[in-house]
């Protein structure tokens, strides 16, 4: 057990956990931010995706001891009122089925658009390939990313 101080969604939180604890479980168990999901625990499904700085990372592979000063953003902190362009596009296209994978999908997609505001189909597929959706919403996810990208460029 050790004391850590991490920045999550703009707030600094102090907590005492084992340094090996993945941020996924810090978020879910300790901070009660359960929007970030557990799917595989081995960086294969993307359900646990959060932003570390501007990058999409798999929080199941991110021990709290390695976070340091970097800012973590979760789905709960992506926007104040749930109106990030990606969230809005997700609603407009009505992407989710069961919805379980969608927070991870949205976090990966929003990081992609930050670094590449108008990605090609290939670039979208490349960035999103690590996020599994058993319900099979991939065609809608792609459409929603394009919708959000279009809004970005129009805005």
């Amino acid at each position: 057990m050790a004391n850590f101080s991490v920045k999550v969604n703009g707030k600094t939180v102090d907590l005492e956990v084992d340094g090996s604890t993945p941020m996924l479980w810090v978020l879910r168990d300790h901070l009660k931010l359960v929007g970030t999901k557990y799917g595989c625990g081995i960086a294969q499904c993307g359900a646990c995706t959060v932003h570390l700085g501007d990058n999409a990372v798999r929080s199941c592979q991110l021990p709290i001891s390695s976070v340091g000063e970097k800012e973590i953003t979760t789905i709960e902190g992506l926007s104040e009122n749930g109106d990030h362009p990606v969230q809005k596009a997700w609603l407009e296209i009505d992407v989710p089925q069961c919805g379980y994978c969608q927070a991870g999908q949205i976090m990966t997609a929003s990081a992609l658009l930050k670094s590449n505001p108008s990605p090609s189909d290939d670039e979208i597929e490349g960035a999103m390939n690590g996020n599994i959706c058993r319900c099979g919403t991939y065609t809608r996810i792609k459409k929603a990313i394009k919708t959000a990208a279009a809004e970005n460029t129009n805005a």
Partner: protein, 750 residues
Amino acid sequence: MSIIKTKVGRRSFLKNSALAGGGMMLGFSWLASCKLSPEEVNELPKEWFKINGFLKIADNGQVTILSPNPEGGQNVKTSMPMIVAEELDVVWKDVIVEQAPLDTDAFTFQYLGGSQAIRRGWEGLRMAGASARILLITAAAEAWQVPIEEITTEGGVIFHNSSKKSAGYGEMASAAAKIKVPEEVQLKEIGDFKIIGTSQKNVDGQKIVTGKPLFGIDTHRDGMLIAMIVHPPAFGLKIESIDDSEARTMPGIKDIFKIKVFNDDYEKAFFDTRTFNEVAVIVGNSTWEVMNAKKVLQIACGPIESATETRDRFGRKWEEHTPAGLESTADHYAQMEAMSAKKGEVRRRDGDPETAFKRAVKIIEATYTAPFLAHNCMEPMNFFADVTSEKAALIGPLQKPELTEQTLSARLGMPIENIDIQMTRLGGGYGRRSYAHWLVEAALISQKMNAPVKLVYTREDDMTDGIYRPAYQAKYRAGLDADNNLIAFHVKTGGIPQSPLHQDRFPAGAVDNYLAEDWTIDTNLTVGSFRAPSSNFMACAEQSFLDEVAEAAGKDPIDFRLALLDRAITDPQGKTNDYDPQRYAGVLKLVREKSNWGKEPSGMSRGVSAYFCHNSYAAQVLDMVIKDGKPTVQKVTCAIDCGLVVNPDAATNLAEGGIVDGIGNALYGELTFVDGVPQKSNFDKYRMIRMKEAPKEIDIHFVESDIDPTGLGEPTFPPIFAAVANALYGATGKRHYHQPFLKDTSTLTS
């Protein structure tokens, strides 16, 4: 205008229990949480009146509709309340939707499975809305002293035109709640629908995209502990002892013990399947701590003995035989081959198939196989339980709450009234969450710990302690005469441990000489429902085979199928054929038109497939190209006849999902076993379809229909396997008989 009775069987369908007088008080925060944003809640109602099990109306006119069935992505939480709202005659955007609890008094069939929610709920949902509307009108007629026939409604407002009186539903709700439900109610004409047939967004959409706690695994209660299981590493083994000397000392660990899920003398019901009846349990403060202890807990296992137990399928008993031993996939395929060489159980014989095969000038034969599949719901199995000596509170995702409640009641020896099951959104179900042994496990752990507990399966537990899709084999034979007419058809199929045969499905009824037989092989692997059970294999085998037969007959694959269906329409063979050949042909014709059949884009290989299951019809054309040796699905065109479509865009989403999921399972889905050990335990080895492999475009078309709606969660899934196989044939020149078609990411198997 259809008039229906409000009594269904012995149940009086709608009790207005609001006789208790005043409504319930619900705080602002609850109401705000139901709407997209708090600003939309302009006025806080003072009182709610429960009109029937499905709906409450507040004094200010706000309407809350309870969605009775579990939601796992089929969008029933939006579609079912839409049906109620339609008959109630309110404006959809003014409706708040809430998940109903398990309540066997108020609702029937609170299941998720078999694509049945809308089909079986249809009349009841309409009745709930229509009868509430009648009560409101009756209240108004009494208040205004006018004849009830002169009253009309629109958008939640009651009108009496000649006296120019009007009132919102909220004003009449209190009086309406005290009126007796009439014995009959009138339903709307389909042509008058304003909500049904329009696309409405997922009512939980905003919560999903903002990460609100909707799923069972998100449950948290003060003082809650985390529990995980440790099970034998192989099917055919059982735990003999546990060595927890190290695990017990690890930080955050509270207790380690064994539980027995079902007692020895318990007669298991249909959904009570449990492989490892005894599992070790680790309970601790947090997930990570329990996961770490799980890595060091030692269990010693020994072989199971073979057993025969009587099980109960809704009153019908059957003997289930579980052999001892450690099973392997290689042996399974050899066993299936050996079984198929023996005489099967004849399920249907029309005409004289043996003689007809002797007469045939051409005989086409093929063998198809499919492996065990894991469900791989993205939300691993989990459940919350808080069990005391008096009562049990359970929260989580499950598909058959009513049946599970009975099982739990028997296991705890606790009356059903003392058990409360709250249903959360399911992070996928596909059949796996019908087998709710984990709910019983969670309850037993909570009871032992005397504390609230959340049981969570790791992904590895979820995959290796599964209730799998059975492995199957089918052998087909078709005989053609000199004019290339199909004169004889023979299917012999079976599975481990279930037969997938539907002997009365197409092409039964379309061939003079028809023979269907089957067999089964016992196993100690546990199996159960998996998205479109048995159809998910038969569609692939049958529709691949018909393609091969059409080719041998020198006919276009769609024309060939349509000619057979025409035969089933004009001169059906046999006594019972459980499909409607007109509707079957209808989807094939529609997909032919929409896909521009016969004019495929150059360089593209096309496969067609059509199937009937779960009361709906689906036909698909799949366009494929091979890029860098890998098949790429460019487009899928799909025609569906599922009766009236309640929520078209949501239905389209679900249909697309079935197609994507089916392509993934056809190309990659497989779980193999060596000496009882599942050879894959996580997504590094178990290939799931990913975005790159999904179709670039999916084009869904619904047949316009007034027929009562049927299911959609399943019907697009089975046929797509064969559309893939048939397109692969065009693309590679090789028929694909054995699933999965791609053993790994790059190699095409034959």
